[in-house]
Symmetry: C2
Subunit: 482 residues, 2 copies
């Protein structure tokens, strides 16, 4: 993946820039020693690495504003970073950038149970937001697989979802307001503690904007009462298509489970070997979980089992107790780790209309066969967010390139089916060139015009989201106009 | 309420403009006879009236685009209109404008139960969206009181809520995508049929933008499975403050009713006289409704009754059967009509944090006493959307002005309490001058900069939303720059 050449004028002013940053922050919050900046050279898309000019670790919104003012003044690109768990290279540095890490900004600023909200600094991890309120019976709903590590800042940047977003929505449905610092260093408040905030809804534009428009330092999040209980049911089928049709029928029937997870044979096999969850030997597995009181769970699972039976399942097993429920989930939750033990893989992230599931699964298998590669499917089926894993052998020359080509074909298939390139991982550097498949030039132009408004110098999170040639042309034009 | 002087250059070109509009539409879709344009002289804020230059009633998005191209070319202001039910004057014409009414655009374009969505033309009424899917067991959640008449176009413009939005959210939470025509006549698609649409979320900016940014002609709406059943409970208290505290405790406890409606004594008395709902003679009444299976309803109502009892209610009555449930609701739903039989009133619409409810209710009573006026409160308490009714006698000179002054004070109180000027009725012309209380000049400037992008000539829905002097200055400046 090509990155732009670093700006030599910035590199030559490195010491002066670092000196100015030290003027804004405590001594231990500015990292410029090359041995230490290496820690920020990549995120979870580890194939691409580049150490930044420097990294800063502010503790307050005001410190973030001070840093951004300096960088704006010096014309230095800034790459915001949460916990560095991006699978799309969303926090990949350039050699001439300052990494602005929010990892030390972890405070809970306010909990308000009467208004059902929590306000946190955005360096706080996803799971520790729930941690702050669970003793009082509440939780924060979006639950990406990386929730132990990932920061709210990154969740907002990528509009993250998770296994339970079928019922509770993704980040944008649970985000009430933010404090954001613009590239100029101005502190702005967007949204607030209400269902219906005053003024134009600019909050929505920020959520999912991948650090292109500003640095979100504080967030007001909706918290929900913990359900009384939850219970999963395991349903096995003889083909992906039948399992897909069952998912489609469950949604159509109007039942609203909290999660419908889908695994196909390659994935089932790996997970079973890894987690001993007692999965049946079949082509496709669904884990469907419902929540509520015991009576409600019984009722909903009754309906779901009735629909499942109509599709002639190989296996249909309701969790008898908490232990079995945990084992059913353990297999699914360890899927990525389990796959990694036996294969190299690329994890894709696209969305499709739920109704297209059977057709898309069939077509993915055909595409994979054309490349002589295997694809394992494990994903949130209920909301159409797919995570196909393309398996390959990194030691065989040319296999990575082949896998990447197949990945691009699958994402184009998602777009063609009426879906989109990314569900929750973001575009980052990984999918920037595919944006031209999703959007025509006028659409891309409109999105870049929005960036022009928030970040006229194109200094925030460079070389991401937009096709590189397009965004570099834009950046140069803006520079020339200054 | 002052309106800008009509542009005499436009008035003098009236015949030529009408002629060009006739070139875009069938003969019966262009209304220019003054006897007929009178039908469009006001919306539900009937105190202000002004017949438009002409009115057009297109049937398709393409016809809307053709009309807007002509108006853009001629520099004629356009006022989009749904069903004309705005309580804030959101569809009030100017004498030099073309009313663009979507009332004939009522088609259902697509229903898709597997993806749980419906796509409609936006002239369709709110209730008839549910009408199109209810036989199949689905419904469209937002339910403004005017749902029999109001159009989806207006719901989107004002981001409407309704009695049930505590559980299901307001329009923005149920809107998946729109087809919009810009003032230049360009047709754009925003959002789509997914939880997580690709690209920047510009859809959020459109929802609630009161016809300032474009004309929304088609909408993709989320539909939900109809719950098995619902049951209300009626709770009476000896004071507004105690009822407010009970609401706050229900929310805090994590129960999620579909509705918590609040009525105070003046309102209870009027509704009881009108609807014979069997309401007790007390200071404050709550109607709390929960949904689900019988078992779930029993369980949730059990919790709610427990909380209610802790506040020592005057009355606590669960609906015994469907008939009683309907009678409980009949009183609430006829509240506005019942009040109108015995008083003139102004209906306000502000939001506050739920936790501030008791304090705000006390302060409203104090403010009203200061003006020697009575305020009746009936509103969606669960989500903090208040609708105080200021009662006055229109036949007494000066009472309307006094009532309007009290209304402004109450809305300022909402802002001061951390809420906002409008929950679901919008700013329109009614509250445009109060925008300066909610926002400082820089905030207003930012919102107007967004309008600059979508509608550079400031032709769409003039004299609304922004304080008149500010928006007129902006409009003149843009005209001069052309």
């Amino acid at each position: 993946m090509q990155m732009p050449d670093p700006d030599s004028r910035i590199l030559s002013r490195r010491d002066a820039i670092v000196e100015r940053l030290r003027g804004c922050l405590p001594a231990d919050a500015v990292i410029s020693d090359p041995a230490e900046t290496r820690a920020y050279e990549c995120d979870a898309l580890t194939a691409y690495r580049c150490a930044p000019l420097a990294a800063v670790l502010p503790r307050t919104t005001e410190e973030v504003a001070a840093v951004l003012k300096v960088c704006h003044d010096e014309g230095v690109p800034v790459v915001p970073r949460g916990s560095g768990t991006s699978l799309a290279g969303g926090a990949l540095p350039t050699a001439d950038c300052v990494i602005l890490g929010v990892a030390r900004m972890t405070e809970v600023l306010e909990t308000d149970y009467a208004d059902r909200l929590i306000r946190v600094q955005t360096g706080r991890t996803n799971l520790s937001v729930t941690g702050a309120v669970e003793e009082d019976g509440f939780f924060y709903a979006p639950d990406p697989s990386s929730q132990l590590a990932c920061a709210i800042a990154g969740n907002i940047a990528m509009n993250s979802g998770g296994a339970h977003c079928l019922k509770y929505g993704v980040t944008t449905n649970n985000l009430l307001g933010v404090t954001m610092v613009t590239m100029e260093g101005e502190i702005v408040e967007l949204g607030g503690g209400h269902l219906d905030a005053p003024g134009l809804d600019l909050l929505g534009v920020i959520c999912g904007s991948e650090g292109q428009l500003g640095v979100v330092t504080e967030a007001t999040l909706r918290i929900l009462p913990k359900p009384e209980g939850a219970r999963p049911v395991l349903i096995g089928y003889g083909s992906n298509e039948v399992a897909g049709a069952c998912v489609s029928d469950i949604i159509k029937a109007g039942v609203l489970p909290v999660a419908i997870e889908f695994m196909d044979r390659p994935c089932i096999r790996a997970c079973e070997a890894f987690a001993k969850a007692g999965y049946p030997d079949c082509e496709a597995l669904l884990i469907v979980e419902v929540e509520g009181s015991d009576a409600e769970i019984d009722h909903q699972l009754g309906l779901i089992k009735q629909i499942a039976r109509a599709h002639d399942p190989v296996e249909l097993r309701e969790a008898g107790d908490a232990d079995e429920a945990q084992r059913i989930w353990l297999g699914r939750k360890s899927a990525f780790g389990a796959m990694g033990q036996i294969n190299d893989y690329i994890c894709l992230d696209g969305t499709i209309p739920v109704s297209e599931l059977p057709r898309v699964l069939t077509r993915i298998a055909e595409l994979a066969a054309g490349y002589d590669l295997e694809v394992a499917n494990v994903f949130h089926a209920g909301d159409g967010n797919m995570h196909p894993l393309i398996l390959f052998n990194a030691n065989v020359e040319g296999e990575l390139a082949k896998a990447e080509a197949l990945g691009a074909d699958i994402l184009r298939l998602c777009v063609e089916a009426g879906g989109c390139l990314t569900g929750e991982h973001g575009v980052g550097i990984e999918k920037r060139d595919l944006m031209a498949d999703q959007y025509d030039p006028a659409d891309l132009e409109a999105q870049m015009a929005v960036k022009d408004v928030f970040d006229p110098g194109w200094l925030l999170n460079p070389a991401k989201v937009f096709p590189l040639d397009v965004s570099e042309a834009r950046r140069s034009a803006r520079l020339a106009a200054e």
